[in-house]
Amino acid sequence: MVVAFAILAAWELVTAAGVVGFRRPIYNALSLVANMLGLAVLFLILNAQFLFAAQLIVYAGAVMVLFVFIIALLNPVSDVSLGRTGNEWIYGLVFGVIFAALLGGLLVNRGLTGRQGTATPEAISAVGNVQAVGAALYTKFLFPVEVTSVLLLIAAVGAVYLAMRRIR
Amino acid sequence: MGELKLRPAPFPTGRAAGPTPLNALGDNVLTTTLDKVINWGRSSAIWPALFGLACCAIEMMGAVGPRQDISRFGSELFRASPRQSDLLIVSGRVAIKMVPVIRQVYDQMPEPKWVIAMGACASSAGMFNNYAIVQSVDKIIPVDIYLPGCPPRPEALLDAVIKLQRKIRGEPLVKRPA
């Protein structure tokens, strides 16, 4: 397990670097896809099979495809290379280093203490992963789920408005 | 313009099987057997390009039709993309305007590739001894098999394909009864 996690972590780091590092947009997007793939596998080794599938179906399979679509459509023949303009990257570097130092320092000094939730692998396997997710969604988080539906409705209205061709 | 020159030589033909990856290894028992197997595969799965020009294209379709059924030879998969085809059947007269197109299609086909000049027009301009028609397609691309007829019957095309298969396998084109 540890070996698998180490490999995945490395994979995640490399692909994440690819997301920001590549010069051609399509490679950035594809790195993100690869990153999400790794994330899905991480879910899998955490016994969250449903999340694994959802991550792949929704993010890798639908959302990122559209990203790639748009990138490819905008420059199907030759990619626009993102040149480095100005020196924004310095800011990025500075903030990144500060953030990393902060995180690292805290990690070394105090340690990150989390709290074990109720959904242990044993508890999940007692009812089944998908069933556990379903039960949680439709009891404990019923209200957020419903709010999500409203959110999606409004988002759909907005998207339709922005994309619609009007004939008066 | 009107001067009639003696015809130039057609492209050299006789590239029986095209390059195989084993050519570099030289001849020995193993490679020749392998060559035979590969050539058997190539000759049994000739996918023509979906490329019709004129009258002969109709008879080419006829060869696909149920009466003749070129699929028996594994050749009914007419590929629309030249990159996936092995055989270019130049089926009909080639107008001067068409020359670059044919050349491009031929160039896009991956090796090994073969050409059948189907019908009198493609092989030798046939009756169109005039300004508009390329006098034989072998001036543009190398031709492996010439097929006379105007247009040749579908059976004749099958005959040409069989002869091409023999050529690929390195056998004599015309087998006479002993």
Partner: protein, 176 residues
């Protein structure tokens, strides 16, 4: 009877054209039931308008030209139109001379003339004034010469017989 002469001749039609265009109408003939009028280039468009609007010739069959190198003017340009209602047909001819042969275009009257006139330009080199899109249609755009002119040599190749067999190029068809 000869079934091919199927146009219904309308003698009065030539009369009416003559009345209307006077000297513009140079000649008219009725050969094997095909009615032709030869007019001056200047009146072609007017004649066409008249034929379409008042005589009901709504359908253009073709436009072409004939090259008579010995004659002057050298080219005869032909449009043939038909009235679907009256089942009548008339051939409009006009002439034009070298070195810059040009006649008015009838695309404004019968849009169907467009490609036919382009073809005539392509093969005869006759310009049609007022054609919206006069460029080569059958030959490649960079072609030189006008193939259907009589002085254009239709170069080809002679048929090969045994005395022209290529020496030393006998292919090695039988491999191995």
């Amino acid at each position: 009877m000869n079934r091919w002469s199927s146009a219904l001749p309308d003698d009065a039609l030539v009369q009416r054209i003559g009345d209307r265009f006077g000297a513009g109408l140079q000649e008219s003939s009725d050969f094997r039931g095909d009615l032709s009028v030869v007019v001056k280039p200047e009146v072609v468009v007017d004649l066409a308008r008249y034929l379409k609007a008042e005589e009901g010739f709504d359908y253009l069959l073709y436009a072409t030209a004939v090259d008579w190198p010995a004659r002057d003017p050298r080219f005869t340009v032909v449009w043939e139109v038909r009235s679907l209602a009256k089942q009548a047909r008339i051939r409009i001819k006009t002439t034009t001379a070298m070195p810059d042969p040009h006649v008015p275009s009838l695309t404004s009257v019968w849009p169907a003339a467009s490609w036919h006139e382009r073809e005539t330009w392509d093969l005869f080199g006759i310009k049609f004034d007022g054609h919206p899109d006069l460029r080569r249609i059958l030959m490649p755009p960079n072609w030189e010469g006008f193939p259907l002119r009589k002085d254009y040599v239709s170069f080809g190749e002679p048929v090969i017989f045994s005395d022209q067999k290529l020496e030393g190029l006998e292919p090695d068809a039988i491999r191995g």
